[in-house]
C-alpha cells in the first residue's frame, strides 16, 4: 500500500470482447477474451498473472495500457481511471506505465541503432536536450548491464538476452513506476533467463518498480511474485498470496496446472490431474477462501 492506502493499480471488472464474423457474410459472434477481471497491485510489488494460451493474460496486460481498448471495466492507476483519460492524458500516463514484450527478436526495430531505440521515448515525450538524452541513454545502458561501447550497434548484433535488456532500457527511459512484463524471458535460454530475472529484481529494488509479470512458467512466477492470479479462458479462477496459492491451491484447475509442471527430479513422482471442462460450467464467481485468497469454487 502507498501511504494513502491506494494501490498503484486497481483493475475492476475488466472485460474485452472481440467481434468476429463466422465466415464470409456469416453471423457476427463475439469472443470474450477477458471476462470480469479484478485485481490490485500494491506499489513496489510484483503481481504474477499466469495462464495458458488463450487464457486472456496478454489481452489483460494490453487493456491496462489501452494498447487494446477494453469493452468495459475500470483501470485505476494512482487513483485515476485510465479508461476515462483523454488522448492527451493517456499519452502522459504512458510515461508511468511501460511494457516489455516477450520476443526480443521482433519487438525492436531492426533498422534503428540500440541508442536510438532507447532514446526514442525521450524524444517522443520531449525530454531534455540532445546532450542530456545522450547521457540518459548511456546511464540506462549501464543500468541494465549493457556495454556502453555497443550503443551504436543494431539489434541483430546483440544476443537474445542483450536484446531483452535493450527493451528494458527503453521501457525504463521515462522513469515509469509500473512495468507490464509480458513473458519477458520465455524466448531466452535457461542460463540467460536467470540473468534477466535477476536484473528485473535488482531494478525493482533500486527504482522501486511495480511489476505486472505475465507468464506461463509457474516456476518463474512463484519465484518472482508476491501475489498471483491464475487465468483460464478469460477469467481469473484463483488469486492469492504466492506461497499460499502454491501450497494450498483451491481451484481444481490450479491443482491441474501445478501437477503438469515437470519437476527437475527423476525421483519425484507426481500424479497428474487432467483438466476437466466441467470445472468451469457454470462459471462461478470468486469467493474469499481465506484472507486475500480468492477462488472461483
Amino acid at each position: 500500500m502507498t501511504s494513502n492506502g491506494v494501490p498503484l493499480l486497481d483493475v475492476r471488472h475488466l472485460s474485452k470482447e472481440f467481434d468476429q464474423r463466422r465466415g464470409f457474410l456469416g453471423p457476427r459472434v463475439s469472443t470474450r477474451a477477458v471476462h470480469d477481471v479484478t485485481f490490485t497491485i500494491e506499489e513496489g510489488q510484483t503481481f504474477g498473472l499466469v495462464g495458458e494460451s488463450g487464457s486472456g493474460k496478454t489481452t489483460t496486460g494490453r487493456c491496462i495500457l489501452r494498447l487494446i481498448e477494453p469493452t468495459s471495466g475500470e483501470v485505476w492507476f494512482r487513483g485515476t481511471n485510465v479508461l476515462k483519460y483523454s488522448r492527451q492524458e493517456l499519452r502522459l500516463a504512458r510515461r508511468h506505465m511501460q511494457i516489455v514484450f516477450q520476443d526480443p527478436y521482433s519487438s525492436l526495430n531492426p533498422r534503428m541503432r540500440a541508442r536510438q531505440i532507447v532514446e526514442e521515448p525521450l524524444i517522443i515525450h520531449k525530454q531534455g536536450t540532445s546532450a542530456e538524452r545522450r547521457n540518459r541513454v548511456a546511464e540506462l545502458f549501464g543500468l541494465v548491464g549493457l556495454d556502453p561501447a555497443h550503443l551504436e550497434r543494431y539489434p541483430h548484433q546483440f544476443s537474445g538476452g542483450q536484446r531483452q535488456r535493450i527493451g528494458l532500457a527503453r521501457a525504463l527511459a521515462l522513469n515509469p513506476s509500473l512495468i507490464i512484463a509480458d513473458e519477458p524471458v520465455s524466448a531466452l535460454d535457461v542460463s540467460i533467463q536467470a540473468q534477466v530475472i535477476n536484473l528485473l529484481m535488482d531494478l525493482q529494488e533500486r527504482l522501486k518498480l511495480t511489476y505486472l509479470f505475465i507468464a506461463h512458467d509457474l516456476r518463474l512466477v512463484k519465484h518472482i511474485s508476491v501475489r498471483v492470479a491464475i487465468m483460464y479462458r478469460g477469467r481469473i479462477v484463483e488469486l492469492g498470496p504466492t506461497a499460499e496459492l502454491f501450497s494450498a491451491p483451491q481451484h481444481p484447475y490450479t491443482r491441474a496446472l501445478l501437477s503438469a509442471v515437470p519437476v527437475p527430479d527423476p525421483d519425484a513422482k507426481q500424479q497428474r490431474i487432467p483438466v476437466d471442462a466441467a470445472w468451469f460450467e457454470p462459471a462461478l464467481p470468486l469467493r474469499e477462501v481465506t484472507t486475500g485468497h480468492w477462488a472461483a469454487i
Binding site: 494460451s53 535457461v190 533467463q193 506461463h216 516456476r219 512463484k222 491441474a256 503438469a260 527437475p264
Partner: protein
Amino acid sequence: MTALLSVRGLTTAFDLGGRSVAAVNDISFEVRAGETLSLVGESGSGKSVTALSILRLVQPPGRIAGGSIVFRDRDLLTLPEAEMRRIRGAEIALIFQEPMTALNPVMTIGSQIAEALLVHGKANRTEARQRAIELLDAVRLPDPARRVRDYPHQLSGGMRQRVLIAIALACRPALLIADEPTTALDVTIQAEILDLLREMKSRFSLSLLLITHDLGVVAETADRVAVMYAGRIVEESPVREIFRIPKHPYTQGLLASMPGATPGTRLRAIEGTVPDIGALPPGCAFGPRCPQHFARCDTAPPPFFDVGVEHQARCYLHEPGNGGQK
C-alpha cells in the same frame, strides 16, 4: 543392453564465408534398445543439427564432415540415398517442435498418415485408411473415425502433435527422434504429450532420442542424458546422477539457475553468453563462463574423464591427479 544407434566422432560443419564452423564437433553417443536418451542443450549447442545429421537431412551449407552413425549394423553415412530413404520414417522417425508447420494444411490428417504407409509400401489404400484410424486411436485422439477426415487447422496444437506422433509411428520405427516435441505447447498439453510418448514407447517397443532444453522434461522422461554445449557433449550419465551429482560446471550451472529453492532471492545465473561456435577459445569452450576455471582449462579442449559408473565429463577438474582441485 545393445546399442540400436551408435554415433562415433560425428562432426557436422557449416561452410560460411570461406570458413568451416563445426556446429557438431566430434560427438559420440549411443541409443540402446528400449531406452530414452535425452540430448540437452541451449540454442546453438548443436542438438538439433545432431538429429538432422542422423537422418542425413543436413542442408548445404551444412555437411557431415566426419564420423560414423551405425544403426542396426549399417553405417548410415555410407548408405546410398535410396536406401537412406527407406530408413527415414520407416525405421527412424522424427517429430519436430512445431506442430503447426510440420503438417500439410491442404491434406486431411488421415491422408497424411496413409501417405507415410503408402510411400514405404506398408499398406494398400484401403488398409492404410483403416490403419490411420487405428493409429489416431492409439495416440488417443478422440473420435478417430470422424477426425481422420479433419484438416490440420481444425485441430488444436496438442491434437496436431498427437497426429504427428501417429504419422511417426505409422511404419513401426525402431527409433523415434523427438526434437523439442512439447516446447510450443501449453504446460497441461505438454504433460499429456509426455505421458503419450512414454506409453507409445513401451507399446511400440521404441527407443527414443529426446532433444530438449527443459531439465524438467529430462527428469520425467529420460533414462540417460547427454548435455551439449557449443557443439560438444560435455557430460553424459544416467538420469539420476545428472541431477544428484552433476560433474561438469555447465551442468551444475544449468541446474542451479532454475528457480525453485527460495522465492524472491537472486537466481544463480551462469554469467556471460554462449560463445560463437565460429570463434571458440582454444581450451574448454565453457572456460570463459566457468566459475571454477583454472590455467589448465585454456590449454586444449578437455577430453572425457570418468566420474562414475557410465558417467563422464569433459572437465579438467576430473583429470586423474588433479584431485578435483584448482
